[in-house]
């Protein structure tokens, strides 16, 4: 009985996570949609899948003129990274996996700003290996974005998972998070905490 209640709770939890954008200001996460609602998805065998690096609820009303962050793409012999895309003309002054991006023209403010798109192709046949995507600070620069009107103002970004150590997105994994062996309750709480900070202990 206890297991059943727990399972129902977890299912409800997972549903609520995937249905809403990280409500906290200045969140950064990888999503399977440009609206920043799906952090869990699949890379179907042989087809192109797109992920979106999104800044959610930017606290600056002026948009952004650049950003810095490190993107930890899981290494897999069956995952091919096809291309990266950016919303406007830019230059990256860092080397993969680090990104220190300046935009030639600021991106206007909105609730969700797509910072970058990443395209993948999976050559993985069933059973697929779960892939965990993480974000991080850069050694020389904490993850942040530059204000659209005054680039001297740098605003820290916070991972949508609640902590840099927790994955911000899972591909080919079980979205019923508890079913994933490597995915612990602590990480689940971090994920939950990012969506519902008021209930985080």
């Amino acid at each position: 009985m206890r297991h059943m209640i727990l399972s129902i709770l977890v299912l409800m939890l997972a549903g609520s996570i995937s249905a809403q954008v990280d409500p906290d200001p200045d969140g950064i996460g990888l999503y399977f949609d440009a609206d920043a609602t799906e952090w869990c998805g699949t890379f179907p065998y042989g087809s192109v899948a797109t992920m979106y690096l999104c800044l959610t609820h930017p606290s600056s009303p002026n948009g952004i003129s650049g950003w810095a962050c490190s993107i930890d793409i899981p290494i897999s012999p069956t995952l091919i990274r096809l291309s990266d895309g950016f919303p406007t003309s830019n230059r990256n002054i860092a080397a993969d996996p680090d990104y220190i991006i300046g935009f030639m023209e600021p991106i206007p403010a909105s609730d969700v700003i797509v910072l970058m798109t990443l395209q993948f192709m999976s050559l993985d046949t069933s059973p697929q290996i779960p892939l965990y995507f993480r974000l991080d600070n850069i050694d020389i620069q904490d993850a942040c974005y530059a204000d659209g009107a005054d680039p001297r103002i740098l605003i820290p970004m916070h991972p949508s998972s609640g902590g840099w150590i927790s994955p911000v997105a899972i591909a080919n994994g079980d979205c019923d998070v508890i079913a994933n062996e490597p995915y612990t309750w602590g990480e689940l709480k971090a994920l939950y905490g990012s969506s519902n900070r008021e209930v985080t202990p």
């Binding site: 002054i93 300046g102 935009f103 680039p151 740098l154």
Partner: protein, 202 residues
């Protein structure tokens, strides 16, 4: 005796007349509207930070660092309508576009004009000079730090400047790449450079 005095008076009058309307380096001067140390971001395309919105070193709201120039003749009389092309700002390590630092307009009836926009690259810390017809006039500015995304001063913001910025970001501090004068090289400096990427003299 009286004849000599008359001659001297006539000569003096002639001298005054001769210098009237001609800028005198000793009588003309210039100054800045702020005493604060400021940073001015200049760009060969002229779309940097204008002097009237200068960034105070150490942070804070922009301040008006417009440079005013008063052109006077040898009698101390304002020289009106003196052409702006013949009044320019100069400084060591300042790389100017052709005509890139001339006054905004010709002098008004009070002999006044000003500098607000520069078309230049390079980095110049203090020692700015205002010249009239090529000759320096006396004046004072605060510690004005002119910096440019054209870090390698060739009057175009290009990959060379980006490389210097990257080297400064990952290597040792390069004051020329510190475009906001906050003592560190970070995302802000990268953005300030990239916002002017490919810019060159008009």
């Amino acid at each position: 005796m009286r004849r000599h005095l008359c001659t001297l008076a006539i000569l003096a009058a002639l001298t005054c007349t001769a210098t009237a309307g001609i800028p005198d380096l000793g009588m003309s001067d210039w100054s800045c509207r702020t005493d604060q140390d400021v940073t001015i971001l200049i760009c060969p395309a002229g779309d940097g930070i204008p002097l009237d919105a200068a960034w105070p070193v150490g942070g804070g709201d922009p301040v008006d660092a417009t440079i005013d120039v008063w052109v006077r003749d040898g009698n101390g009389t304002p020289v009106a309508y003196f052409p702006f092309e013949d009044i320019w700002l100069d400084g060591p390590h300042l790389y100017l576009c052709p005509g890139g630092s001339v006054a905004e307009e010709s002098t008004d009836p009070q002999g006044h004009t000003y500098f607000r926009t520069l078309f230049a690259g390079g980095t110049a810390f203090g020692d700015q000079t205002v010249r009239i017809n090529g000759d320096a006039i006396s004046g004072h500015v605060p510690n004005m730090r002119l910096v440019s995304p054209d870090v390698h001063p060739d009057l175009v913001v290009n990959v060379t400047d980006l490389v210097i910025m990257a080297q400064s970001l990952y290597g040792s501090y390069n004051t020329a790449a510190d475009l906001d004068s906050d003592g560190q090289i970070n995302l802000t400096d990268v953005v300030l450079l990239i916002q002017h990427y490919n810019h060159t003299c008009p």
